[in-house]
């Protein structure tokens, strides 16, 4: 809601009855006291006007003393001030809440928000730079309807998965196109400093994104960075420092606790007459030895999760200066950030520099130059979190004098000294004797292997294997705009994006196994992406008809030069180059060059009549090198229309409550070509062999080894989508509401279609399938309270999306496989991917129950199925046979709906913002359920487990070694609710009052504290520690193989303190 504040410094004089002309001076500032330049000041009812200078000052000569002045400026609520003979004014303008007159960046141009006919969401910069966030994409969480941001991993610098209105691709990349200052850059969100960002726009429907043609099908994220405004130099320093700690850990038992459990269970079985004596006590010699080590040799259990983690920190300092004259404006900023993950050896450092200059070279020619170099260095831990909590606690991190002496009994480990990393193997092949939890004394019958892991301890691997990624990026652009005529401008823009990534892995000797020689991998990829865009802009109004037109031609060429060198056996572990490596790994050392090209023509016409009836049409054609000649071109048209109903005269009566009503409708076609390069060609790969006497000589070899068979005729995916939108503004736009409903259908789906392995590969590229996405979105913004000293606003967004697979290469279904061969089924007529397997009906609680089933003639193809304590499978088709015919869909990785609520409260200098965000109705596969080594130690997975017929537990939790749970078959036992609600962010700030700053040169000072991931709740069936964590590497990069979680990395909880100073 609008809050007007009018202050007078002059005396309140009585209004004179006679009108005379006076000269008025004044200053216009925003509510922080910052001057606003360029505000238009008009005498109401005339065309007489002036505008404010860079200091926000204006001087108006010879105007009636009783005139009403109208102050307007983009982004601020227009204000009317009755002069009433005053000659000096201070006017405070309030940023417009309704954003109705806001300008929205769309592809290749901007449009007034009131003239928008597509579905576009916008987030303004101050929503980004007031909070402490390390990455731009993280700042978008929960802010916009229809955009989901999934934080798959809490590792520093890791990329989240972004989806706009669901996914419309199966085998091609389903993430949105990211455009930074006009240049499509796939990793744009990872390096742009959030504090350099002016606005982020999300193009959701095809009418908006079709101007990006073949890359628009999964939506477009447009990032616009800050530019200078004509003003005196304005400096800004923003800094924050924060601490991170893990929110929650896995409930892992140590060896003593676990052994106690085993003894308790043995005691229970001893009291159960159905258990044969031989099966009562199942505790193995290895388990007993482990207990002895923990209690009598190493002495204290190691909490491997704690070993993995640390108190991490994050800091960020950003300094910027902007300003300029009317004809030359600049914005320069620098940014340094260090972000540590809570897991050791996880860190991301980033240094940004940004400079942009806008110059009016003449009245007709404008020049913009911008340069944004960044440097990023990311350290990634060599082992994942799972490896820590699966490790048994009796292994110490390093040997004590006592344990070293103990393992020295084995001649092979005679060299082990106190302080050396302990390994499981050091404790094998020894005799153990000691007291058991039940008080008995136990001596192992000969040598035993308490923990037969051949892996080194995770921390010793992590300490000896360094993984660093160093990335240099440079984005630069030069735009020339020339006004050919008053209504016709031509713009030519040359921009380049250069990225140099070097991923180094240096592994010291004995890192993973004893006898490992040191080795190094240096993988570099240099990408040069050149974009040349030429656009012709036309805008013309005659009468009440307003036209704007756009014609464009763009060429983009991307060349990636990648190389990798793998070498081993340097004379010292200290080398971080391969110059001294005695061996170079010939198989893994290579270079590749991949050129990609895109040529496009585009055009758009916007027309409106009286600003009420809006019509827009666009067309783009793309030609891409990803497909063979003849299949390269695609046409992507779009149309949209809008009707500003509230501007109609018949709506005048409702103006007092319904201040805005707009109808929008759009239809368009977009495409997707993001698959591996040259997928249309049958490529040959290096495949050498050795012939000849002795150890042979390596001979050249070639073979068609591609795991995905080529698709010679593949072409664009095309997505047809329609959007209907309604925008409401109530009570002078104090409450605004947007509702969008959409349907999109992707045809010619680029599919890695499953095929018979007898072809030599089990998948091939095909263009045969359809997916439909339907949904609706609500965005609501409300100014709940608007007093002079107190202001409370709420933004709410809600998005619901349903997808359905309509066609799949003419087949009824396709199975895709994860790491445990768990099936992700794409079944026509159902959501495009679902978990597929067996439904369980509790567990077999007793042998009697098993015998009864067998007597009834039940059979099963599943091995070791008829075991008491094992999972019992539902015979879905009722044929008495448990076989693959009984598999059904068990869940889907998509949420039914997502939502976010941001509340913002301002009281005097204080501000408080908090964001609650959630996802409801999806499922995930909990891979930990199958990960036997850690599963038995995890209380969430062993509580109330089956022990014997008389002690069946809860009747649902299987005994860990029993039955098909160990068979890695997917059952609903592993399916959990993925719903969550996060109190994502709480931000409390205090802006120092102006009076404190008057004697300093400071314009404003804000102090704040932020807490991220303060609290979360999950679905009841969820047994993990991070409902967002997902595996996204290897096969899980595919949009259809999703929803798998194993070893969820703990959620990071961050507390940050920040200081923003402007002067």
């Amino acid at each position: 809601m609008v809050l007007c504040l009018l202050t007078t410094t002059a005396n309140q004089l009585l209004a004179q009855s006679a009108t005379k002309n006076i000269t008025v001076t004044g200053k216009v500032t925003d509510n922080k006291g910052e001057p606003i330049p360029g505000v238009s000041v008009l005498v109401k009812g005339t065309k007489t006007g002036v505008s404010t200078d860079p200091k926000g000052d204006f001087k108006f000569n010879n105007i009636p003393s009783n005139a009403t002045l109208v102050f307007t400026s983009l982004g601020y609520t227009p204000q009317e001030v009755l002069l009433n003979n005053r000659k000096a004014l201070i006017v405070t303008m309030i940023e417009s809440v309704s954003n109705i007159e806001e300008v929205v960046v769309v592809g290749y141009g901007t449009v007034k928000k009131s003239h928008l006919t597509g579905a576009v969401a916008k987030l303004k910069g101050d929503g980004l730079d007031e909070i402490a966030t390390s990455r731009l994409d993280n700042a978008l969480i929960g802010k916009m309807a229809g955009l989901t941001v999934q934080i798959n991993s809490s590792e520093a610098g890791s990329d989240p998965t972004l989806r706009i209105r669901g996914a419309s691709s199966i085998s091609a990349d389903a993430s949105p196109l990211v455009v930074v200052d006009g240049h499509p850059i796939d990793d744009g969100l990872s390096y742009v400093s959030p504090q350099d960002v002016e606005s982020v726009e999300i193009l959701k429907d095809a009418a908006s994104s079709a101007i990006y043609g073949s890359r628009g099908a999964n939506g477009v994220i447009i990032v616009t960075t800050k530019k200078g405004v004509a003003d005196k130099p304005r400096f800004s320093v923003k800094s924050y420092y924060g601490f991170k700690n893990p929110y929650k850990l896995q409930p892992i038992m140590n060896t003593t606790e676990y052994t106690n459990l085993l003894f308790q269970e043995a005691a229970l079985r001893a009291n159960d007459p159905t258990v044969p004596v031989a099966s009562q006590n199942l505790i193995t010699a290895n388990e007993r030895a482990a207990y002895i080590i923990e209690n009598q040799i190493s002495g204290t259990p190691t909490d491997w999760q704690k070993v993995a983690l640390r108190d991490a920190s994050i800091y960020n300092i950003q300094a910027s200066v902007s300003g300029g004259k009317k004809d030359l404006r600049y914005y320069v900023s620098g940014n340094v950030q260090q972000d540590q993950g809570v897991m050791k050896y996880s860190e991301n450092r980033r240094t940004n520099f940004k400079a942009s200059i806008d110059a009016n070279l003449s009245s007709k020619l404008k020049l913009s130059v911008s340069l944004n170099p960044t440097y990023t260095r990311t350290q990634t831990p060599a082992v994942n979190f799972t490896d820590y909590y699966r490790f048994l606690s009796f292994i110490p991190v390093t040997h004590t004098a006592f344990t070293a002496a103990f393992v020295d009994q084995n001649a092979q480990w005679a060299g082990i000294r106190e302080g050396d990393f302990a390994q499981a193997r050091h404790f094998t092949n020894l005799v153990y004797a000691g007291t058991m939890p039940d008080g008995s004394f136990y001596t192992s019958p000969g040598n035993v292997a308490p923990f037969s892991s051949t892996n080194n301890t995770p921390i010793s691997i992590a300490a000896r294997e360094n993984r660093f990624s160093t990335q240099y990026r440079l984005q630069g652009s030069t735009d020339l705009t020339y006004a050919l005529a008053k209504s016709l401008t031509v713009k030519s823009s040359v921009s380049g994006y250069y990225r140099d990534v070097e991923n180094d892995i240096f592994t010291q000797s004995n890192a993973r196994k004893d006898g490992d020689v040191n080795s190094g991998t240096i993988a570099t990829a240099k990408t040069i992406d050149l974009l040349w865009e030429n656009t012709l802009n036309y805008s013309h109004s005659f009468g009440k008809h307003n036209f704007t037109g756009l014609l464009g031609y763009t060429v983009q060429k991307t060349t990636t030069n990648a190389s990798q060198i793998v070498g081993s056996n340097s004379p010292s572990d200290d080398f971080t180059s391969l110059s001294q490596a005695s061996l170079i790994d010939q198989l893994n050392t290579y270079t590749t060059v991949v050129p990609v090209g895109l040529i496009s023509y585009l055009g758009r016409i916007n027309y409106d009549y009286k600003g009420k009836y809006l019509l827009s049409g666009s067309l783009r054609t793309d030609e891409s090198s990803k497909f063979r000649p003849g299949k390269r071109s695609g046409w992507f048209p779009a149309v949209s229309a809008g009707w500003l109903v509230s501007s109609e005269s018949f709506m005048d009566k409702t103006q007092n409550w319904l201040s805005n009503l707009k109808l929008r409708a759009s239809y368009g076609v977009t495409g997707n070509n993001r698959i591996a390069d040259f997928s249309y060609l049958d490529l040959l790969y290096k495949s050498t062999y050795t012939f000849g006497s002795g150890t042979g000589t390596v001979s050249q070899g070639q073979s068609p080894d591609n795991p995905v068979t080529y698709g010679p005729d593949i072409t664009w995916e095309t997505t047809n989508s329609a959007n209907l939108g309604l925008d409401f503004g109530f009570f002078k736009d104090r409450l605004t509401l947007s509702i969008d409903a959409y349907q999109s259908q992707t045809d010619k789906l680029l599919l890695q279609q499953g095929t018979q392995s007898i072809t030599g590969s089990n998948v091939f590229y095909n263009n045969n399938g359809s997916i439909r996405n339907r949904g609706f979105e609500i965005e609501l913004n409300s100014v709940n309270m608007a007093r002079k000293s107190f202001r409370w606003t709420t933004s709410l967004n809600f998005a619901l999306n349903r997808n359905k697979l309509l066609k799949l290469g003419g087949e009824p279904y396709q199975y895709n496989y994860g790491e445990r061969n768990e099936i992700y089924a794409s079944i026509v007529g159902q959501p495009y991917t679902q978990f597929f397997g067996y439904k369980t009906d509790g567990i077999w609680t007793s042998q009697a129950e098993v015998d009864a089933a067998l007597a009834a003639g039940q059979t099963s193809i599943l091995q070791s199925y008829f075991q008491p304590g094992g999972l019992k499978i539902k015979d879905i088709n009722g044929d008495g046979k448990i076989n693959e015919q009984d598999r059904v869909a068990l869940g889907k990785p998509f949420a039914d709906f997502t939502w976010g609520v941001t509340n913002s409260l301002k009281y005097k200098g204080f501000d408080l913002t908090f964001l609650i965000q959630g996802s409801q109705g999806g499922q995930l596969i909990d891979g930990d359920v199958y990960y036997n080594e850690s599963k038995k130690l995890n209380r969430n997975l062993t509580n109330n487990r089956w022990v014997s017929a008389a002690n069946p537990g809860d009747g649902k939790t299987p005994y860990f070694t029993n039955g098909i749970a160990a068979d890695a078959l997917l059952t609903d036992y592993a399916i959990e609710n993925a719903s969550y609600a996060f109190l994502r962010n709480v931000n409390l700030g205090y802006t120092l009052p102006k009076v404190f700053l008057q004697r300093t040169k400071l314009a404003s000072v804000r102090l704040y504290a932020t807490a991220d991931n303060v609290f979360f709740i999950t679905g009841k069936s969820y047994r993990g520690i991070n409902p967002e964590a997902r595996t996204v590497s290897a096969q899980y990069a595919s949009p259809v193989i999703s929803g798998y979680q194993r070893g969820g990395f703990p959620v990071n909880r961050t507390i940050t303190f920040g200081l923003d100073v402007n002067f």
């Binding site: 051949t454 006898g515 040349w532 060429k557 090209g597 040959l684 050795t690 061969n821 693959e884």
Partner: protein, 532 residues
């Protein structure tokens, strides 16, 4: 003025349009395209080299499907619940289902190489129609001699793969030319007889086309390539394996090899496997590996070395897979006072003081970097040719040819001439008469199988030998019984011996067709092997 400006801009644009066209006309720079390859001898020969490379990958799984399902190998740990161990347990216990990952890996990597081979054969104009090979016009420019040598090698490699597939899975899918994914769902399983007809045709083609040079006349650079002798030896084994064996045809081939090939026994068993003596005269065909990080290293050294042995056996620790059973360990006759079987130390090593100290030593050599050993993996050795001859000949008396061959093999391994003593404590040749003499066909079969077992231990022969001779069920059941107390009885939950023995039956001697292969095909019904 204004006009000139427009003209200039238009001209610039038009020119740029023309020059930018090449931005999308790009070719792969780092790879050849198959349609533009296979044009001449050199290129087809390089592609054929790729097919040899493709022999390596299936071997990483083959031992799991053969040795681990015989009485030679078991799993080291009954209590391990890691996925890899659980999968291997299932094979060892005859409990693997059609979804078994390792079975599928073998299937896929084998068919992958069959694809590679079919690309080569297509370029040479070779097709398989109505049960016979048809030699058409090659698309590649090759001389007749070049064509023959390429065809001969490729056909052998294809037959080698199909022979393994047919022995493991029964009737499989015959794919004799590059198969388009869109047509692949029309191909169903063929009968075992049809598969063998295909295999025999390929091997006869290989014999007809491949080099006939004697071992000593093979150019040094061509050692390790397939030749007519390799093909004859493999065909002999096929003849012995057929549902209706053809021992007479096998014998003809074997006698030809023995008389004319120039191949022969190495003087000592250790020499056969020495990395300093690769492709020796005993090796009729081998899958070659090469150390030195050239991408051709053998991972078996690290797979088979004892788990948690650190760098005691090989650098980078071992996994302890393909773990030798007590049964195979005691099959070697070792005496402290008399003759001992020299094959044992070559075959089985011991490490540590545990009760389970064994590991497969045959393919272990010093490695600098993990999974990069030099050792080749022999497929057909001359001693196999000799023992096949004994098998094809059958029992012909205690002093007959067949017993002579067995004794020849034993003598090379260090067996002494029997005078007095126990066959279970020392290592003797079988005498013609008296104690230890083999006097009937049943004992002969046992002696032959025992000899093959120790001679070819961990060369993935034992399982096929047992199946071929109809001995698999009783031998493996007896083996389960012999190691039940020490090992199999310790699984939790306990598997009763009777259950364990019942797990293995005639059906289970064949592996299941991977479920994925059946699931993917929605056009025709693929019949699963019985028992799965």
């Amino acid at each position: 003025m204004k006009k000139i400006k427009y003209i200039l801009i238009t001209a610039l644009l038009l020119q740029s349009l023309a020059s930018c066209k090449k931005v999308v006309d790009v070719d792969p720079i780092s790879n050849e395209v198959s349609s533009e390859y296979y044009r001449n001898y050199s290129e087809v020969n390089i592609a054929l080299t790729g097919c040899y490379n493709g022999l390596q990958e299936p071997l990483q799984n083959e031992w799991m499907l053969t040795e681990l399902r015989s009485d030679n190998a078991k799993q080291r740990s009954v209590s391990s619940t890691t996925n890899a161990n659980v999968e291997l347990n299932q094979l060892n216990l005859y409990m693997a289902s059609a979804q078994h990952q390792q079975i599928y890996n073998y299937w896929l990597s084998t068919y992958k190489n069959i694809r590679n081979i079919n690309y080569v054969l297509r370029s040479l104009g070779v097709t398989y129609q109505n049960g016979a090979l048809v030699y058409g016009t090659p698309t590649a420019t090759v001389t007749d001699a070049q064509k023959a040598t390429l065809i001969g090698q490729a056909l052998f490699l294809r037959a080698y793969h199909y022979f393994n597939l047919t022995r493991l899975f029964g009737g499989v899918f015959i794919v004799s030319q590059p198969l388009d994914p869109s047509l692949s769902k029309q191909v169903n399983r063929s009968s075992v007889a049809d598969c063998y007809q295909f295999i025999v045709a390929d091997l006869q083609g290989a014999i007809a086309n491949a080099s006939q040079a004697k071992y000593t006349a093979i150019p040094a650079a061509d050692l390790g390539r397939v030749n007519a002798w390799s093909a004859k030896a493999l065909l002999a084994k096929v003849y012995l394996t057929l549902p209706t064996p053809r021992p007479a045809d096998a014998l003809t081939l074997l006698n030809d090899i023995i008389a004319n090939s120039g191949y022969g026994l190495e003087s000592s068993y250790a020499n056969v496997f020495s990395i300093n003596n690769e492709v020796n005269k005993e090796i009729l065909f081998t899958v070659r590996f090469k150390a030195g990080l050239v991408g051709l290293g053998n991972p078996m050294a690290n797979s088979f070395a004892p788990a948690s042995s650190g760098d005691a056996i090989v650098n980078g620790d071992g996994s302890g897979f393909n773990y030798p059973t007590n049964s195979i360990n005691s099959a070697f006759r070792i005496s402290t006072t008399s003759f001992t079987d020299a094959r044992k130390p070559v075959t089985i090593g011991t490490y540590g003081a545990s009760t389970t100290p064994y590991y497969v030593n045959k393919f272990i050599s010093t490695v600098l970097v993990k999974n990069d050993a030099e050792n080749d993996f022999p497929v057909i050795r001359f001693s196999d040719v000799l023992l096949m001859k004994a098998e094809a000949t059958g029992y012909d008396g205690a002093a007959g040819t067949s017993m002579g061959i067995i004794n020849q093999i034993r003598e090379r391994a260090g067996a002494g001439t029997y005078t007095t003593g126990s066959f279970t404590t020392a290592f003797y040749k079988y005498p013609a008469v008296g104690t230890g003499a083999i006097t009937n066909a049943t004992d002969f079969l046992t002696a032959l199988l025992d000899e093959r077992r120790v001679e070819f231990a961990f060369e993935n022969q034992r399982f096929f030998d047992l199946v071929r001779t109809g001995q698999a069920l009783n031998v493996i059941r007896a083996y389960y019984a012999s190691e039940y107390t020490a090992f199999y009885g310790k699984y939790t939950p306990v598997i009763p011996l009777a259950t364990l023995q019942a797990n293995i039956n005639t059906d289970k001697l064949l592996l299941p067709i991977p479920q994925r292969e059946i699931d993917t095909n929605n056009e025709i019904t693929i019949t699963q092997n019985p028992g799965y």
